[in-house]
Symmetry: C2
Subunit: 655 residues, 2 copies
């Protein structure tokens, strides 16, 4: 018997649900614990784990667990954490556990049996399913209730005495636990600042705490660059910090002849790493919740930068949570849609059918929730508790919104494809086609030559956002597509998009219609602008007309803006997908295209992961050199296609 590597196992999904619960209960603002504003699922109380096995020889097993429970083996009940003798032969072992504080999990490592992915588990009310497990929990001492972050000691780059105490500057945005030592009988206030201004304005700083020598010296992990220690004897207060991060490698790299762009790439990479933790966060200071819309963009970026499905999968599982669905994901209609679309896009990127099967029931339940709230036309409308978000900014939401319908159409198409993978049949495609027609009947404005936000208000308002979706999701076709580009995408008279969140969709749409240069310009003006302002990570938003501390205000608070926001890492996606031009053309990237476009750059050098390999695309005007280490690649230039053999170096002249 080939023995697998022993690992901690649990009921599938409990790990994500548990850590998502912890994460959702960590926001702090202005000295308050700030509860998450939507429903949070809890892990299972109890589960039963089953394995039939053959012991080739006599042996012994020990169920190692911090949960409580028992072992059914050999016709008897046995306590956990004790040694059971296993005679050679065929056996069934059932481990039944409960865990009120964490979630049921255990570990067996022996000559005759190990815990691994071949076990099944049930929660007493559902059919057995494959167990859950994660890298990082391979020894008896490991604890799945502690997330396996990596740590590095970090030191302040400077300490400055200022009125009231000492201001420590760690040199750049970071995240982690601070350790404080306060002399007996003394107290100190710690003000965490992403900016110097925030750290030195205790009244307005989002994260602050007052401590005495009796408080726990290791503080919860938080975002900061600056820490202001306010104390009469600040110099007696010891302070040290650790950088807490997910040990995940960048697989993509990109550099070009524009140094500012290279710095933007590094800024984005660092920002994205800081926000890639248990799950994809929106930002590390605030609110550190998991938002499906923000995460949707992170999945796209992660496919290129880390090319590792683990954070994406954890995020999808945590966002799905546990049925029943009584509100939309994050209470936002569009965010439920992104979640289902994500599941398809994740499957397309990875070809991981096992993961798809593990979430499929919940995906279908979320789908049924979405469909249960459509109106008589089959349109998404605002029901009680709904938030039709799409974007901040000027949108006409006075009726069914076109952007929501395009997302719904994409949901139908995603469901149809997912069902196809699993060999299931349903009316998803029929619904998609019917909705396609209906959207055109109700939202296509022949006169304006664009999709209007809504027909209900009578305003016939054309927004950039709605028409960006029409391009981005391949909704607009043929002549209509041309008109959308002319009358909306490239129409300077429409209100500009003001959020970096939707700006990424717009830049992707522009790249899709061959306007990479616009994105390249924007990278230098917007992200380059932030760098010029001294940013060490990408801000939640940036307005070049603002000055000084104006940059840090948002949502009505002086320091409400997050200075390290995942959605700002879009240049990685733009440059990988549209400049290096690497993208999959079949499930799991088994076939892929390399269709480079230098745009404004005279030279670049990109390494882009795809499928199980990487593509190196090196450009020096006018020659591009392409090398892959996996089969399936095709070099595309205009209408010309050249198959790429792995290990060979190809040179093409472009432009």
């Amino acid at each position: 018997m080939l023995m697998k590597k022993a690992r901690w196992i649990w009921y599938r999904g409990d790990f994500e649900i548990y850590h998502h619960m912890l994460l959702s209960c960590r926001r702090q603002e202005y000295g308050c614990d700030y509860p998450c504003q939507w429903h949070i699922s809890r892990p299972e109380v109890s589960a039963s784990f089953i394995r039939d096995f053959t012991a080739e020889k006599d042996g012994a097993v020990r169920v190692v667990t911090r949960s409580k429970g028992m072992v059914r083996f050999g016709g008897k009940l046995h306590p956990v954490n004790t040694e059971l003798r296993v005679p050679a032969g065929e056996h069934r072992i059932v481990v039944e556990l409960y865990d009120i504080e964490k979630f049921p999990s255990f570990f067996i490592d022996s000559d005759v049996l190990v815990t691994d992915e071949t076990w099944t588990a049930e929660c007493f009310d559902r059919a057995p399913v494959p167990v859950g497990w994660k890298p990082g929990f391979f020894s008896a001492e490991d604890d799945p209730s502690v997330f396996p972050f990596a740590y590095e000691d970090i030191k302040p780059a400077s300490a400055e005495k200022i009125p009231g105490g000492i201001l420590y500057d760690f040199g750049k945005e970071t995240f982690g636990p601070v350790t404080v030592s306060i002399p007996a009988g003394e107290s100190a206030a710690l003000i965490y600042g992403e900016s110097r201004e925030e750290a030195t304005e205790p009244e307005n700083a989002l994260v602050r705490e007052t401590l005495t020598s009796s408080d726990a010296p290791v503080r919860p992990a938080r975002a900061f660059r600056y820490i202001f220690v306010m104390s009469e004897n600040a110099e007696k207060v010891g302070i040290s910090a650790r950088y807490e991060y997910l040990p995940i490698e960048d697989k993509a790299s990109f550099s070009c002849d524009r140094e500012l762009v290279n710095r933007v790439w590094d800024l984005c990479s660092y920002t994205f790493r800081l926000n890639s933790r248990e799950f994809f966060l929106d930002g590390i200071k605030r609110d550190r919740w998991v938002w499906s819309g923000d995460a949707y963009q992170s999945y796209m970026i992660a496919r290129y930068l880390h090319h590792d499905p683990s954070v994406t999968e954890r995020t999808i599982v945590s966002l799905l949570g546990k049925p029943p669905y009584r509100t939309h994901i994050n209470t936002i209609n569009d965010y439920s849609a992104y979640l289902i679309i994500s599941v398809w896009e994740h499957y397309f990127a990875t070809g991981d059918e096992a993961f798809l099967r593990s979430v499929w029931d919940r995906v279908k339940e979320l789908y049924r929730f979405i469909v249960s709230r459509l109106d008589e036309n089959g349109f998404v409308v605002r029901r009680p508790g709904d938030w039709i978000f799409i974007d901040w900014g000027v949108l006409d939401k006075d009726g069914p919104h076109c952007a929501e319908q395009i997302l719904l159409w994409q949901v139908y198409r995603s469901m149809a494809r997912l069902a196809g993978v699993l060999g299931e049949e349903d009316d998803y495609s029929v619904r998609a086609d019917a909705l396609f027609g209906k959207i055109h009947a109700f939202f296509w404005d022949r006169e304006k030559g664009a999709y209007i936000d809504t027909f209900a208000s009578g305003k016939r308002f054309v927004s950039r956002q709605t028409n960006v979706f029409a391009i981005l999701f391949d909704f607009a076709e043929g002549l209509q597509k041309d008109r959308v580009i002319e009358n909306a995408i490239l129409n300077p008279d429409l209100p500009q998009i003001t959020t970096p969140y939707f700006k990424l969709y717009e830049l992707l749409a522009l790249c899709r219609i061959g306007r990479l240069e616009t994105a390249q310009d924007y990278i230098e003006s917007y992200w380059g602008g932030m760098l010029r302002e001294g940013a060490t990570s990408v801000w939640e938003a940036y307005d070049p007309t603002q000055r000084g501390a104006e940059h840090f205000a948002m949502y009505g608070s002086a320091f409400g803006k997050s200075l390290c926001h995942a959605w700002g890492s879009g240049p990685i996606l733009l440059l990988s997908r549209y400049c290096a031009g690497v993208y999959p053309t079949s499930v799991g990237g088994e076939t892929f295209n390399v269709e480079p476009d230098p745009g404004r750059y005279h030279a670049f050098d990109a390494t882009i992961p795809i499928g199980s390999g990487t593509v190196r695309v090196k450009y020096s005007a006018p020659t591009v050199t392409v090398e892959t280490d996996v089969p399936g690649g095709t070099f595309v230039c205009g209408d010309a296609e050249t198959p790429l053999e792995p290990g060979r170096s190809y040179r093409f002249e472009i432009r």
Copy 2:
């Protein structure tokens, strides 16, 4: 403003869900922690509590809580557990809490605002509902995560040195925490026994533990009469115990000229108290889980004995748990049916519409679950994961079972009545009528003159159980009822009922057809028999042919039988309802009948609670004296009816 009494408040149902979770994770057997064998719900992680109020004067409030969270007040966020100044005027206060370990709860007591039942709460995914609260949590120091049991010190009645240690006898069955003091460096094994035999057979005793001086001295509350302290130095091991119980008064009393019956009543009363805790338990030693079938009988008994809805309501809420329903309650089809029927019977007994509204959504969801699993004839059938229980013993379960269909019919009728109370309309009555016809078409055997268990097997087997239900739920009518009585209920050739659980249904059916004497005889032979065997509480089962320790064996274990089982308390119900003859005839007992039947007794004296009052029924052959302290009563004797004015004493001659 009339200020109400301040109390701890929480999201409705969390208290029951939390304590049910704890209870379900307390079973121990043979040194193992024995997980509950069905799905257990957890309380909510977070909730938001809202109150609009007018402060008549300036004041201050403090949100007292062990949960984490914040207060939205006066346009700002405030930490909990701090004082907020409240100026005179109109205000809205929102308290948002999360609690990973317990459940969110808090307390405000001030001149300007208190927490009481006028607050509403939401869990971010459902409309606000009235908050939950319970008696026992009225001061800032109280803790709703600790169930408010009462305690009394109890001392062993004797201590006996036997080989291996000392055997303590507490004189009767009891329940509570034992405190042990073990000298440093020593160890001791504690064997808990409901019987002397169990305590002195460590290998076979269900509850046992081995302790050292470093273990917690106060042990978890357990059932015992005997405790065997096994130790080389047992006399140095200190032991004391506390009786842990629910401080709830008996409101019913009954005595008669048969002393054995009076002792049975007391035995039943004590047994029922021991099993009336957070919820109605099946038994206090094993398994201490909440079973809907057992609880259904307890509700009926409690309506007479304690006439207090609190344990019934907690039990119903805990059994309903949280949707989605993926298996039947306790995995048993009949147990789901009892739960819905219970909700109607509880409403009928109390008239408490607020409680009904608080569970109605879940009742409907459970109903939908039941209906979703019917077969093409609309019959209950065994689906994967189902347990068609009805009763242990000889039943033909080879197809849709008639007893399940009668329960389903009663479910439809209960739903119709409940919907009527709430002004809702549905097809419940139509379904009930259709099913009534179908059951007769498929299960009535004209030749046998009785309902057969199932038509599917071709055996045409007539069981006592099925026909007991036909009588008990008023399903059989007219001539059919007469034939059922003759051919099944009173037919000595059918297999006897062997479980005390179903025996209670049979005795109730017998009383319903005027055979109180049969029940009275059985009380003396069965319960009287247990008393003669030395029982200090009612056993799970009793077989007079068994001898000595044979009585304690069950489910294949030497001491598997519970010696303190709630379902054994049926005589309280039988004597209150059919001998004293007191029963409600309208919702909440606003009208009621007094229809005494001495049966075999020459004298009895009963005080029976009904509605908001009590009835005293005193009989000394041939005269019965009746006194009530509430209006609505009617004395019934045969066809003669006499209205009873409260405060007046009535004398009637009967027989």
